[in-house]
């Protein structure tokens, strides 16, 4: 009896090995999805090009601000603003990848926190004593602090006449520059770790990538649109929560953010135009082609809705006739969450927890 059952198990195992071999050969012809290859593509064609570009744009921002300081003309300020806007748009791709070197130094929150607190910024400038690295100053630094410093109604006059104001802007830029440098350096050694970390534990790069992708999407939905239009405030709108409120580029940032998420989902580099394996290919490999289509279609609908506004987000919020259009945009943003956070993640077999734990 025992002998027979041991024999049975052995037979099954051998059978299994052979059948797998056939299966594997067949698989490699039909379907070539491989997580390691996807991670390599994402780092080589999406993360690193964005990081390089962001680095260059922040350097340009820094040097153009030095030029402006030496010759504080409107034209030179426009140059600064142009570099600021370019880097802010590139940031929309980079902010998806809040793990490894970016998370280690808290780069996402120090660069992209909004809304900023203008009163805090002003009081820092007036007192002259501030520590920009302090957590309490997270809403007084980064790209949104520059939005206020460059675009508020007194910006040009302050930048031309107030040395403390200029110094503050300079320090905010310097902090961005230093942190960008350290992320660039850290990524050059982290790259191989990332490319090889294909495991399923919650701390593998693959899991972190999936989780952060979802988190960034949800953050875009909630912070860029939801909170300003009052979704967390009984529908009473909060224009003071609008991202990049002073420059009024919030729709541009939303559109860029959705484009970046869509491109990342498809494994496509927005900067170098190269494309490789992404989540989309993984879903197709798992025979979830219809989910893949649903996700891409939804991204397209969101983009077309977001592109349908010919005004700033703050103007749209303050115009009662735009309420339905904003709600519609938000609804589409909301519907995509289920597609990517529930259906896509479930298919990948990734754990949506950020800590390691005893499972059962």
């Amino acid at each position: 009896m025992l002998k027979r059952s041991v024999g049975f198990v052995l037979m099954l195992s051998v059978g299994l090995l052979f059948s797998c071999k056939d299966k594997k050969d067949k698989d490699s012809e039909e379907n070539e999805f491989n997580k390691a290859e996807m991670l390599t593509n994402v780092s080589a064609n999406i993360i690193l090009p964005s990081l390089t570009q962001f680095d260059a744009e922040i350097s340009d921002l820094k040097s153009s601000f030095v030029n402006f300081k030496n010759a504080p003309t409107q034209a030179n300020l426009d140059e600064v603003k142009m570099n600021w806007k370019a880097s802010y748009l590139t940031w929309q791709t980079l902010k998806i990848f809040d793990f490894g070197p970016i998370r280690d130094i808290g780069f996402k929150s120090s660069t992209g926190t909004y809304p900023v607190d203008p009163a805090k910024i002003e009081s820092n400038i007036n007192s002259g004593s501030y520590n920009l690295a302090a957590i309490s100053n997270l809403d007084a630094i980064g790209l949104n602090a520059l939005d206020y410093l460059f675009y508020n109604s007194n910006a040009l006059a302050e930048l031309q006449n107030n040395a403390a104001y200029v110094e503050y802007a300079e320090k905010v830029i310097q902090k961005l520059y230093n942190e960008t440098q350290s992320v660039v350096n850290a990524w050059s050694s982290y790259k191989s770790t990332f490319n090889e970390s294909t495991g399923t534990s919650s701390t593998s790069a693959f899991s972190e990538f999936v989780n952060e992708f979802n988190r960034d999407y949800e953050l875009a939905k909630t912070a860029k649109i939801g909170i300003p239009i009052g979704k967390a405030n009984l529908g009473l709108s909060n224009p003071e929560y609008v991202e990049a409120r002073y420059s009024g580029i919030s729709f541009d940032l939303l559109i860029e953010s959705i484009k970046a998420l869509k491109a990342t989902y498809n494994g496509k580099g927005l900067i170098n135009g190269k494309s490789g394996l992404g989540f989309s290919d993984y879903l197709v490999n798992l025979e979830k082609t219809s989910l893949d289509n649903t996700i891409n279609n939804k991204f397209d609908i969101i983009l077309s809705k977001a592109e349908g506004f010919s005004m700033t987000l703050e103007e749209a919020i303050n115009d009662p006739s735009m309420e339905n259009q904003l709600d519609e945009l938000y609804l589409h943003l909301q519907q995509q969450v289920v597609n990517i956070k529930t259906d896509m993640t479930a298919a990948f077999g990734v754990l949506i927890t950020y800590q390691d734990n005893d499972g059962d």
């Binding site: 025992l2 041991v6 997580k35 009984l234 077999g349 949506i352 390691d356 499972g359």
Partner: protein, 460 residues
């Protein structure tokens, strides 16, 4: 027939048998508890699971169990580690087992988002260990109080532990007899393909046939392993299977110490001779002097209340995992009668829940950001479990009651707001379906053991 059953029961449970297996189990079990308590503290989980959360999901009937303030939460864990060490050494054994059981169970009752079958198992085992005299040989207690020393003990002291392990395996096996597990190879298919990058075995793990093989073998293993462990002839092979099976699960799935708990606990099935030799070896190592009276004067007579207690315990252990039959609908979907039933690694559920707090007067609504109130782990657990969804809705009502929301133009204060939820859940790789419809005001529902007809029906 009844008479012989009665006698069989008496013979099996109160017969005197060598105490060695019980002593060895105490040492192994104590060491395991010590390891896992220290591990829990070292990993920082006291902080993330018991200090950081603002809300706790109590168990029905046990909502009065509350966490200690801040770092005081470390106290039960430190007590557990000390008690575990004392259990291993057999030092103030009865008190130590009680302290461990009490602290462990207290912690487990605090928040059901931390529920794991293996924690429930440890809770039950420490309860049973509290009742059996596993300190009557090779222990500090036996050194200090030589009169407690015994060579033999009542058979039920050992058999009840075997019974508990048998319950875990057999019910885990029965739970696997369902169409998703056997005929779709889900959720194993999803979990195994995620390992396609492993060198050498990745291709095998991704193959569909492997998922079926693992599913069927896992089910057969769980159903029958106990019987093979009980038979002397098959035991060595069965134990090899235990080691192999649990190490494979340990390597492939994030299941922490559970495989090791099972590998070590199943040694209780080994023969008396094995345990006797092991114990003698340990005694020689620690220069233990035997001082046991050759004949024990008073073999304790079986007390009726002990017998009825054992029968009651066995009945509860068999009935609790079967309570799901009292509920209509799909068990995995509704999760009514799901916990405390050894449904281990049985399904893959992902959900997304959006809660809406609504002012009853103006009809204005707030969309809740769940992570403002819950840790990621709690949110993740809550989103697929109806009882937790209901509990969270009630927490939100309390939280938002009396809060004022305003902008430059208006200000509204919430009074006794309604809470609705729109929840989508994906079960075992299927496309997500509506789980809870937004139409229900969850604050109007009561939290009890009745069937929850507000869960949307599951469509395969």
């Amino acid at each position: 027939m009844i008479k012989s059953l009665k006698q069989g029961f008496r013979a099996d449970f109160f017969k005197q048998t060598a105490i060695a297996p019980l002593i060895m189990f105490r040492i192994i079990f104590g060491a395991m508890l010590l390891f896992s308590s220290l591990r829990f503290i070292m990993k920082g989980w006291v902080e993330t699971q018991y200090i950081e959360p603002k809300f706790f999901f109590g168990f029905l009937g046990f909502e009065w169990v509350k966490p200690l303030q801040g770092n005081l939460m470390y106290i039960p864990f430190i007590l557990m580690a000390i008690a575990a060490l004392f259990i291993m050494l057999g030092f103030f054994y009865r008190i130590s087992t009680f302290v461990f059981f009490a602290c462990f169970t207290y912690v487990e009752l605090l928040d059901k988002s931390n529920y794991l079958n293996h924690y429930y198992f440890l809770s039950l085992m420490s309860f049973l260990m509290m009742l059996v005299p596993a300190h009557r040989d090779f222990s500090i207690d036996a050194k200090l109080f030589p009169h407690i020393r015994r060579k033999e003990t009542a058979a039920w002291h050992i058999n009840i532990l075997k019974f508990q392990l048998a319950v875990v395996y057999i019910f885990a096996g029965i739970a696997k007899i369902n169409s998703d597990w056997l005929f779709e190879a889900q959720p194993l298919r999803t979990w195994l393909q995620a390992h396609h990058n492993l060198p050498y075995v990745g291709g095998i793990l991704k193959a569909e046939v492997t998922a079926y093989f693992f599913s069927w073998m896992g089910c057969i293993y769980d159903l029958f392993i106990v019987f093979f462990l009980m038979s002397k002839r098959t035991r060595p092979f069965a134990y090899l299977a235990v080691i192999f099976f649990h190490i494979v699960t340990w390597l492939l799935f994030p299941i922490g110490v559970f495989p090791w708990v099972m590998i070590f606990s199943t040694t209780i099935f080994f023969g008396v001779k094995f345990h006797q030799q092991l114990l003698n070896g340990l005694k020689r190592l620690f220069k233990w002097t035997e001082n046991i009276p050759e004949t024990i004067k008073n073999i304790p007579t079986p007390k009726p209340f002990v017998k009825y207690g054992i029968i009651l315990y066995i009945a509860i252990q068999i009935l609790v995992p079967l309570r799901f039959v009292a509920y209509p609908g799909d068990l995995f979907w509704n999760e009514e009668g799901f916990r405390f039933s050894w449904r281990v690694m049985l399904m893959h559920k992902e959900g997304h829940a959006t809660f809406y707090v609504t002012d009853r007067e103006t009809g204005r609504t707030i969309e809740v950001n769940n992570t403002d109130y819950l840790t990621v782990r709690q949110e993740d657990q809550m989103m697929t479990q109806p009882d937790m969804i209901l509990q969270f809705a009630k927490m939100l009502q309390e939280e938002f009651d009396g809060k004022t929301f305003s902008n430059k133009e208006q200000s509204i204060t919430l009074r006794n707001p309604a809470v609705h939820a729109e929840v989508y859940v994906s079960l075992n790789g299927r496309k997500s379906q509506l789980f809870i419809d937004k139409k229900h005001d969850l604050t109007a529902l009561s939290y009890n053991l009745k069937h929850r007809d507000w869960i949307e029906p599951f469509e395969k």
